[in-house]
């Protein structure tokens, strides 16, 4: 009687023996990371930033420190405040991404890394120089243009916004090349469009409002207009 149960039990073992292991041996192999992953280091495009400090005001923890002086010019649109200090205290950051959501100029992106351990607390502050010089691997969090379609309205309609209509469907922030400010496109959320701030797009450039499936003629979308 017990023998039968033992055979049954061993069948379960046998079944699991042939299965692929579910665990991942972390340092050697890595789990596939989705491009929307809110990673640790922030990606900041100085060319787009006007120093409005929306990110600092919207941060729930108040860990972004910005100091500006009223001089400086922005490559795409002219005048702006020059940033002197842009400190992000990573040790207190909870990576909610609200600063990225608040940025009206698409200058701040979430990063894609997660291995930023440091031995000292003072190293946990990202300074403006680090932000300038870092390799830019932005996350697609709240930046649907990087995912290759126009989010917000409907994800079933594909509207490429990257150069030459190239699809970023398989955008991989970790593996791909670093992206410059001209390559990351502009967010064009439908719900955002009624409150355009600064160089936010005009309606006709951002979304072909017709609902047709064909991609727009210049897939470049936003930045072409900004140049």
């Amino acid at each position: 009687m017990y023998g039968l149960a033992m055979v049954k039990g061993l069948m379960v073992t046998l079944k699991n023996l042939t299965r692929k292991p579910f665990t991942i041996q972390y340092p050697e192999e890595r789990a596939k990371q989705h491009p929307r992953f809110r990673g640790e280091e922030f990606v900041w495009y100085e060319e787009r930033c006007t120093g409005c400090a929306s990110c600092a005001k919207y941060c729930p923890l108040g860990i972004i420190k910005i100091e500006t002086s009223p001089s400086g010019s922005m490559i795409p649109q002219g005048e702006k405040y020059r940033l002197e200090v842009f400190d992000i205290e990573l040790q207190r950051c909870m990576f909610c991404g609200l600063c990225v959501e608040a940025c009206p100029y698409d200058a701040l992106f979430m990063g894609s890394g997660f291995e930023q351990g440091q031995y000292s607390r003072k190293n946990m502050v990202i300074t403006i120089d680090q932000l300038r010089n870092a390799e830019k691997h932005p996350s697609t969090w709240f930046r649907p243009q990087l995912e290759g379609y126009e989010g917000g309205t409907d994800s079933f309609r594909r509207t490429p916004t990257i150069a030459q209509g190239e699809s970023r469907f398989s955008y991989d922030p970790r593996g791909g090349p670093p992206l410059g400010w001209r390559e990351v496109g502009r967010e064009s959320w439908r719900w955002h469009q009624s409150e355009k701030a600064g160089m936010r797009l005009e309606q006709d450039e951002a979304v072909p409002d017709t609902g047709s499936d064909e991609p727009p003629q210049s897939g470049r979308g936003s930045d072409a207009a900004a140049d």
Binding site: R36, M94, E101, D154, R157, E195
Partner: protein, 368 residues
């Protein structure tokens, strides 16, 4: 001749590996029988309600993730419903379906943990818990795809959800649903009619319906006590009035029923998710609300959902400013804990942890 014994007081927790989080119970034992129970909590108090008063309405969403960290999506949902009531707005239909869908996914994840730990406390170390975690991991991957984080999701916003699902989310969800049936069947086959589990839990610590109601117990614990009460049915929010599902009810009120109700609820959640996938239609996912919300002064609202642990409610009062004047959280875990005396007194030490596991408390929510 009988041996004279004295009652003995034992501290269980706060760092006991078998308690759920930093929870401490002072228990007076007579031999092995529990005579008196005194729960002590507050070790994980972070002042969420007070912190909410100095953040604006969207920023509070990040706080709700950290209440019951095993069901953050549902916490987001409860809070957003409260703010929407306060503002008097309705989210677009696609957002309502996305919320329902993610909340049900989160309910599955939460119940898998509840069931896994419940069985682990019976001594089944490892295997059933890992079966649960295997499937939960898939759900968390779906969440990462959806909103970039696994636990602290912050996916929902007052007026909808922050973004539509990425295109590869839907195939991934279908793959998960296909695999999950097998995986969950394996877990059910192992546990549901397990002889040892039945002996250990059948008839142990029953909560009669009147005791449950008098203690304001809600959620699976109340339904296991034979009361048909589910806010998704009583007061449908989001898309729950569009989907069909059953409410499993226990008949023996005991530990096994609380475990059984959770297993059955997972099946119902799968049903809801499948209906959501079938019914969801393209459209906007977020209302055109400003980033800083200012509800009218003097308005107050109470938004509630059926969270994985019971009724989760947010009571918000507005004074016309950018942050709530008062934010009261009715957390199911804390209120389900009030039944602990009926649950434990008179039962033995070995059943104590199991009974505690059967009400599935989460300290992040108890202490807030």
């Amino acid at each position: 001749m009988t041996i004279r014994t004295e009652p003995m007081t034992v501290n269980v927790g706060p760092q006991h590996p078998s308690t759920h989080g930093v929870f401490r119970v002072r228990i007076t034992f007579d031999g092995e029988d529990i005579v008196e129970v005194e729960p002590v909590f507050g070790y994980l108090h972070r002042g969420t309600e007070k912190l909410a008063e100095e953040r604006n309405y969207v920023q509070v969403v990040t706080l709700t993730d950290r209440l019951d960290y095993t069901s953050s999506m549902i916490n987001n949902q409860a809070y957003c419903l409260a703010v929407e009531k306060l503002l008097g707005v309705e989210p677009p239909p696609r957002a309502r379906y996305l919320r329902t869908l993610t909340a049900e996914l989160q309910r599955i994840a939460s119940h898998l943990i509840a069931v896994g730990f419940f069985v682990q406390e019976l001594g089944a170390f490892g295997t059933p818990l890992m079966y649960g975690f295997r499937s939960r991991e898939r759900i968390l991957e779906l969440f990462e795809m959806l909103c970039g984080a696994r636990i602290t999701v912050s996916y929902m916003r007052p007026g909808g959800v922050f973004a539509d699902a990425p295109r590869d989310f839907w195939p991934a969800l279908n793959r998960f649903l296909e695999d999950f049936e097998d995986e969950f069947a394996e877990m059910e086959q192992l546990l549901l009619e397990n002889e040892i589990l039945m002996i250990r839990t059948r008839g142990v610590s029953p909560i009669p319906p009147e005791v449950a109601i008098n203690n304001s117990v809600s959620g699976p614990v109340l339904r296991a006590s034979g009361v048909n009460w589910d806010w998704r049915k009583q007061e449908p929010y989001d898309a729950y009035d569009q989907v069909e599902f059953d409410v499993p009810i226990g008949s023996n009120w005991d530990n096994y029923d609380r475990f059984w109700v959770r297993i059955q609820e997972v099946h119902q959640s799968i049903r809801i998710i499948k209906q959501c996938i079938a019914q969801i239609e393209p459209g906007p996912v977020r209302l055109d609300l400003p980033l800083v919300l200012r509800p009218e002064a003097g308005r107050e609202a109470y938004g509630r959902v059926e969270a994985s642990k019971g009724e989760l409610g947010f009571y918000l009062v507005s004074d016309g400013g950018i942050s709530p004047y008062r934010c009261k959280i009715r957390s199911p875990s804390l209120i389900n804990l009030t039944v602990i005396e009926h649950l434990l007194v008179g039962w033995k030490l070995a059943d104590m942890i199991v009974s505690l596991g059967s009400i599935d408390i989460n300290m992040g929510e108890v202490d807030r």
